[in-house]
């Protein structure tokens, strides 16, 4: 994780303006996944092979010294089309996040709130992955093992200085907890002037296990259910209130997954809205969001999501 270095949105934004792809229509499914980019497979093979031997060396060294040090296995390369693919995938993830958070909002309004929390968590997870992508970090897989691709891997003084991407073979498949930890790391090392500090500070400092706590309690505890809505509609006031965006997140609340979902989605949205100020390519995407709000898909958070 410490390989993810500091970055400024100002420079990332500038670089993105060279790589926002053409979208045939708003909200469309990306044409290529990241691991289908030409040159990715040979690079991944090279990285995985080198890494395996380095892992073996590290294990051998551990037997002698009793200390295991993770091998540094980064390669730096610019794969043509990678930045465009990462952007397209991140934008699509944000659309997915918006959709799923919308379903949670509709469920909350309908009084089925515990299951809404599970959906809210999944929406937040999509939004976190989207935001990781917009800040340049993504995890394509090679033979079921993740490779961390970092599009903005070193400190710069201008977006033009980003001329290579870093790739790290992780040797495992990324799980939810690791993804949240990467998200928190990136919140910690990124300077994004347009983000509210209060929300960011809370999201980056809370213990990572709390992002999924409610969802895990519902999914994996046989006797786990958060609210009294298993057989009765819960229509009490204040649940999932969007005021958390101003007041801050309280992880002890029984609607915290809604607060996380709103916050993580909104942080991702702000990045796209900011880019759209310079790129009309994203105007139809913002219009699509506006249409979704108008059609009733976001009865709780629509107004806030559209605001800038």
């Amino acid at each position: 994780m410490e390989r993810l270095k500091g970055r400024r949105w100002e420079y990332i934004r500038s670089k993105w303006l060279h790589h926002i792809p053409h979208f045939p229509e708003a909200g469309c499914v990306p044409q290529n996944s990241i691991d289908e980019i030409s040159g990715f497979t040979p690079l991944a093979l090279r990285l995985a092979t080198a890494t395996m031997s380095e892992f073996e060396k590290a294990k051998a060294a551990e037997k002698k010294t009793g200390h295991y040090s993770m091998p540094d296995t980064a390669v730096e390369e610019e794969l043509p089309g990678l930045r465009e693919a990462v952007f397209a995938e991140s934008l699509f993830l944000l659309h997915k996040a918006r959709h799923v958070v919308g379903t949670a909002e509709i469920q909350v309004c309908g009084g089925v709130r515990t299951w809404a929390l599970a959906n809210a968590y999944q929406g937040a997870f999509f939004a976190a992955k989207a935001t990781l992508g917009f800040l340049g970090v993504t995890f394509p897989e090679y033979q079921g093992k993740a490779i961390a691709a970092d599009l903005f891997p070193y400190p710069v003084k201008s977006g033009d200085e980003y001329t290579g991407c870093a790739f790290h073979y992780l040797g495992v498949r990324m799980d939810h907890r690791q993804t949240w930890e990467m998200y928190q790391r990136l919140l910690g090392v990124s300077v994004v002037e347009i983000w509210p500090k209060k929300i960011v500070n809370k999201l980056k400092s809370v213990e990572s296990k709390y992002f999924a706590k409610q969802r895990n309690d519902i999914h994996y505890k046989n006797n786990g259910w958060i609210l009294g809505d298993l057989n009765e509609f819960d229509l009490s006031a204040g649940f999932g209130d969007s005021q958390v965006w101003d007041d801050g997140l309280d992880f002890d609340r029984d609607d915290i997954s809604m607060g996380i979902a709103l916050s993580v989605l909104k942080l991702g949205m702000l990045l796209v809205q900011d880019l759209e100020k310079s790129s009309a390519k994203l105007t139809p995407e913002i219009k699509l969001l506006s249409d979704c709000v108008e059609s009733g898909r976001h009865p709780m958070y629509g107004e806030l999501l559209l605001s800038q």
């Binding site: 934004r13 500038s14 303006l17 060279h18 926002i20 201008s158 310079s278 790129s279 009309a280 390519k281």
Partner: protein, 142 residues
């Protein structure tokens, strides 16, 4: 658009000792043209990548007119933003986001038409900027 036409339009701007951009290095000159067209792509995506046919920005007339307007775009962007990054140019071009580039498709061909198209664009841009910053201009240290 032919390579000959490309050279015809670009070479006067980079000609040694007299071109508009002659004081800039080759990499900087490349950056100027690259950023200009990137900004067009971001500002006018439907014109840059039309559903059918070739973009007017890459046809002889459109390319010629856009390059004719470049010195003005460059000066205005530099004047307002003190830089020529894509976002700086986009901010300027936003002032003419209603400009009808497609109309150029009906203009016909020839140097006069190309020149007139460039003048139309340049004058529209100047007028819109003047509306925003006023006739007094911006902070130029004199």
């Amino acid at each position: 658009m032919s390579l000959t036409n490309f050279v015809r339009k670009i070479s006067p701007l980079v000609a040694q000792n007299k071109g508009k951009f002659h004081v800039y290095s080759i990499n900087e000159q490349l950056g100027i043209f690259n950023n200009y067209y990137r900004a067009l792509e971001n500002s006018f995506p439907a014109v840059y990548e039309p559903k059918e046919g070739t973009s007017i920005f890459f046809k002889t007339l459109g390319f010629g007119a856009m390059i004719n307007a470049l010195p003005t775009v460059f000066d205005l962007t530099l004047k307002i933003h003190k830089g020529f990054k894509v976002e700086n140019i986009c901010d300027l071009l936003k002032k003419i986001d209603d400009f009808d580039f497609e109309e150029w498709n009906s203009f016909g061909t020839g140097a006069d038409v190309e020149s007139q198209a460039g003048i139309d664009l340049r004058d529209t841009l100047r007028a819109r900027v003047e509306e925003v910053v006023g006739e007094e201009g911006t902070a130029l240290n004199l």
